[in-house]
Symmetry: C2
Subunit: 476 residues, 2 copies
């Protein structure tokens, strides 16, 4: 009997791998160490829990410990892996005050990422949050709830919930003014969440546009929509620090010297891979700082894999390693590694950085390479066109303006990426572009795709096809 | 100066070709002969005009005669081309009681298709319609409108409208019971249109399921939804004839002998290409009966092209000629032929038979090959899987069941087709499958596409990916 498949981290990638390994090889021993109490929860759902659209924290769990047990996974919560010895093929585990060595046959590093807040001085003040994990989400909703209406049970967290933190914030007078620092997708989603609680929202963004990964056209549309929704925008303002009184945040101070009195702050300025565990091991990191992996998710060390927010994957356009922590690639890579470890070698597949974000009524999508400099680094001369077309036939009720950007390489006409924004079935159309990208199509080929048409759902020329037509015209 | 580019038919394919030819070569003479008065109207929008969601017939016109003129098109309405002489390179045109010969340099046959009703005896009775053309749509809505509310101006048809027919039906007591004969997409859309007028609807379908081109899973879902919506379904019933009294339809009589008293009937049992004009010419028809064309829309005769509902195109999966009259391919082929005639040779592109249809709240989509026999003829051993998954993350409000069928070739794993049905952004997801099909992906490759994920729009594994995962599993 070989040593077990040891998985470090009980979230999307880790538990997908564990589950798939056992489906592929039911006799394999699979041990998952999770340092915290929560497993397999939907990060992307947390803004909607804060907003109140999702009622209970439990609703965000896609796998319960009992279900993991049914699948045959030896799940150990509250077990922190503190060291890896790739020569001895063991990990060191701390749990309940004791430490032990666990041998592994195969090892998966699925330790995820953490929210970065260090650049903002004062981030540890009371009333400052990063929305990374369910305890953070619970604390924010507790704070937003008037104390006389607060009940820790209503958070629906069950055993894993850190009740003391939730109770602390639940007892406080709700904030009237909130600063959201960073207008990436977490920032934008949290603006919508705060807005549901009728607080005064100030959104700070160092650059001039929100959701920069989605490109200029989406950024401009989101800017306008946020402003119309009553959010005060501080774009081009870099937050220097958060000042407090009695340990609680009280003021946002910008590099420009401008100040704003606030009761709470959400810092969403980025995340970084949790690679500390690998320091001093021969497991190599990539240029991005995340773990370097091959087509099957293997690291530089035999039988050691990495997946999810801690790992690089291969970019579908450049073929180069890229780090873009997103939900589907984490699940997909975990699942593929589980199959491989179980004996059915399976590629993790490339990533395109396809993402969607909702900003109030706006649906946004992006995929591939939108940035000219990034394209140049990869050897492409990026050409871009942006069009606005209807989401349905113009005469059909509900047709809404849909703005599509497509990018291509000037020399080869190869599609490089795209973005989309609108209010009617806009985000989901990015999947058409992502598929065209994954299949290596040129813009001319995309223009000739036989997409669907029916007045209530799409005009004769879908906005994606209109964009392809225009971009193809400018490539000729 | 060469002889003009002569286009026969002033609808989607014809006017797309004329417009594109002039954009490509502004000096070219382009003449379009349209035998009727309407040009460039949205066939697919007519059910929504009957329903009343689209207010005026004019709203369905995508190009007005004045706009055609601005583009430099010599548009002649009320001009019927009655003969083609490919040796003399002329067409014979009848207009206003006179006949003349028009020489052509290039010729496009874009005569469209006509609704088939002959198999149903009694189809010419008063109160029987086929919904092919705006005059039919106007007549139906006029009939549904109570006489004291009827006003021919409110139809918004302008000059081209045949007012006498509209006035005839506008003066009649609205029907209480309507038979819809044929449950293809026109039949299903018309059921929804009639339902808005609060009539008793009976839907007859020879086979056991509606929208057979969409496959079994969609057919079953539509059946259930139509029944829940109060439509009386007569599936597996072949209509033999329509009986009348005083020239008006009075009864539907089925082959089984069963009868139903009705006040009106809509016959939607199919359409056929308008090829009469080509009888006796060397322009070859394909096996389907539509005009055979090559990759650039050329017929068997030099400088003679065909596009739109009258022409075959190449199927993206089989590479064989296929006839599938749909809006986008008509527009796309017309546009490509216009470019080619203008000097910029452009392929019309293959078709996948991608289609969408709305049935009350249900959104349906289909693409490629769903039928086992059809696949076998093309040399494929069709394997199919059908799954049901959520349209959004399960915890997000509004997540709806979405049923996806994917088909593949057993030997190669190549994707052959797909269908989808659901109530939340379902139809538009068929574009992902259509693009994968157009790019020749295998099911394994489709499974690895990096599609978007955000709780409000799509779960981590989009229903299309779930279907690919399951089908890929059954192929292994």
């Amino acid at each position: 009997m070989s040593d077990p498949f040891v998985v470090v981290g009980g979230d999307a990638a880790g538990l997908s791998a564990a589950s798939k390994c056992l489906r592929t090889d039911p006799d394999r021993d699979v041990v998952v160490f999770e340092k915290g109490e929560w497993i397999s929860y939907a990060h992307c759902g947390t803004p909607y829990f804060v907003k109140g659209e999702v009622d209970r924290l439990e609703d965000l769990l896609s796998l319960s410990p009992a279900e993991a047990d049914e699948r045959g996974i030896d799940l150990r919560r509250g077990h922190a892996v503190v060291a890896v010895d790739t020569d001895a093929r063991t990990v060191t585990v701390e749990a309940g005050g004791t430490t032990f060595e666990q041998p592994y046959g195969d090892l998966l590093i699925a330790t995820g990422a953490h929210a970065v807040s260090e650049p903002i001085e004062g981030s540890s003040l009371d009333g400052v949050f990063t929305l990374h994990g369910l305890d953070h989400a619970a604390a924010i909703r507790a704070y937003l709830t008037p104390p006389d209406e607060f009940d820790v049970e209503s958070l629906g967290g069950g055993d894993p919930l850190d009740e003391s933190v939730a109770e602390h914030y639940g007892a406080m007078t709700p904030p009237e003014t909130v600063a959201v620092v960073g207008a990436g997708y977490v920032g934008v989603e949290m603006v919508e969440a705060f807005d549901a609680w009728d607080v005064d929202i100030h959104l700070f963004q160092r650059s001039g546009r929100p959701v920069p990964a989605f490109g200029e056209a989406v950024g401009d549309a989101v800017t306008e929509h946020l402003r119309e929704s009553g959010v005060t925008l501080h774009f081009g303002e870099e937050v220097a620090r958060l000042d407090g009184a009695d340990g609680h945040v009280q003021r946002v101070v910008c590099e420009s010297g401008s100040e704003l009195a606030v009761d709470a702050a959400l810092v969403g300025i980025g995340i970084a891979p949790n690679t500390d565990l690998l320091e001093g091991t021969p497991v190599e990191l990539g240029e991005s700082g995340a773990v370097a992996t091959d087509a099957c998710g293997r690291t530089s060390v035999e039988d050691v894999y990495a997946a999810g927010d801690v790992a690089e994957m291969s970019h579908v356009v450049t073929g180069e390693p890229t780090w873009g922590p997103l939900g589907l690639p984490a699940n997909r890579a975990g699942r593929a590694i589980g199959a491989t470890v179980g004996g059915d070698q399976t590629p993790v597949g490339p990533v395109a950085g396809t993402a969607m974000v909702k900003a109030f009524d706006l649906e946004c999508g992006r995929t591939g390479i939108l940035d000219r400099d990034r394209a140049r680094e990869a050897g492409f001369d990026l050409v871009s066109e942006t069009i606005t077309a209807g989401s349905r036939s113009g005469y059909y009720p509900g047709a809404a303006e849909t703005t599509v950007t497509l990018t291509a390489d000037r020399d080869t006409g190869r599609l490089l990426g795209g973005s989309i924004v609108g209010t009617d079935r806009a985000a989901i159309r990015i999947d058409t572009v992502a598929t065209a990208l994954g299949a290596d199509l040129t813009v001319a080929e995309l223009e000739r795709q036989d997409l669907g048409y029916a007045p209530p759902f799409s005009p004769v020329w879908d906005p994606v096809l209109v964009a392809a037509k225009v971009l193809n015209g400018s490539l000729e």
